[in-house]
Amino acid sequence: MAKLAIVLAIPLALLATVASLGVMVVDVREAGPDGHHIVVPVPLVLAQTALAVGPAFAHQQDLRIHDAEALKHMPLARQVLEALADGPDGELVRVEERDEQVVITKQGRSLHVQVHGGHGEDVDVNVPLQLALQALPDSQGNIRTTALAAALGGVRFTDLVKVHDGNEQVHIYVW
């Protein structure tokens, strides 16, 4: 009986540890009666580890942005993201056309993008500004994967993406 308890306790403890460190969940519901419901939980710690140790295994060239034109605009992107992160909350952009609406709002430390299409499709995206900042490459074009891994820990309990198109749904959230 004690052995059984130990055998059960180990995976439960592991599961609890992983859960306490955060899990990113990709939830896809396909349309139709035969539509699949796919749920893929990815422990954040796994993603963070992959990002942290990735550079040791990957070619440096693969973790670098080579587009000089794109790199030229990175300082501007960084300044804007930092100013947005420090700035007040509010609705930044609203575009309304006959059958489409796009709204970008700054709420706390996130940008919230909502797109409502004319054919019933809805897209909600939350962009944590800290994560976006860390995802920007440095002046040499290098993507700082370690900083990105650390920033991932700060996006827990966030709905990152919600796409609703007819009867199909995709939901990515960090728990």
Binding site: A83, L84, E91, L92, V95, E96, E97
Partner: protein, 211 residues
């Protein structure tokens, strides 16, 4: 006990008021574009801190786009514009420019602290425009558009700031500094196709002031 609750409540209320005041003191740049024919509406609200960041991060952009060569396009140097502007400002409210032509009338006038530009495009019969297009006359199709009018309002202080530089360059930095101090309209364009309004206030939404 009751006294402590009252004092606590007052402190909380004071803090809330201070926070609200801090929030409303942030200046916001608003852009509103309405295109009635396309049923299109665009609203942009940006904290001035973000606008500042963009301006500071793009000195090359400002340098590149801050230069205006009046000599090439209008046969008038910026220095001449400055002199003319000073004299016009001394004259007070008046109509500075009136251009009447077959296609359009243009009027520029000062009214209080605004410079107002009216362009009244008369349009031409479609047959004439088509005939000119077939004859290969440049811009004939564009001129064949129907009648329309444009009204642009720009604060005098903004023009002052733009012309405060030296040489053949407009002083975009001074204009931006002026924009940041200003509360109210910066530019208003009324056209038959679209209405555009750019203004600054302390609200984070366009609300009723967008009317």
């Amino acid at each position: 006990m009751r006294k402590s609750i009252v004092v606590g409540g007052l402190v909380l209320a004071a803090l809330t008021a201070a926070l609200a005041a801090a929030q409303t003191n942030t200046a916001w740049l608003h852009v509103r574009v309405d295109e009635a024919q396309k049923s299109s509406k665009v609203r942009v609200n940006l904290p001035m801190t973000v606008v500042d960041a963009v301006v500071k991060a793009t000195p090359d952009l400002i340098e590149e786009h801050g230069k205006v060569n009046f000599g090439e396009h209008h046969g008038m140097k910026l220095a001449d514009c400055r002199r003319a502007w000073k004299q016009l400002m001394a004259a007070g409210d008046a109509e500075f420019v009136t251009v009447e032509s077959e296609d359009e009338n243009v009027r520029v006038q000062r009214k209080g602290d605004l410079v107002i530009v009216y362009a009244d495009h008369k349009g031409r019969p479609a047959k004439t425009a088509k005939a000119e297009a077939e004859a290969g006359k440049p811009e004939a199709e564009g001129k064949g558009k129907g009648p329309g009018e444009v009204r642009i309002e720009v604060p005098v202080s903004l023009v002052d700031a733009l012309l405060s530089g030296e040489g053949e360059e407009v002083n975009l930095q001074a204009a931006l500094a002026e924009v940041q101090k200003r509360r109210g309209d910066i530019v208003r364009v009324h056209d038959t196709d679209a209405d555009v309004r750019i203004w600054i206030d302390d609200q984070n939404s366009q609300g009723t002031s967008a009317r």
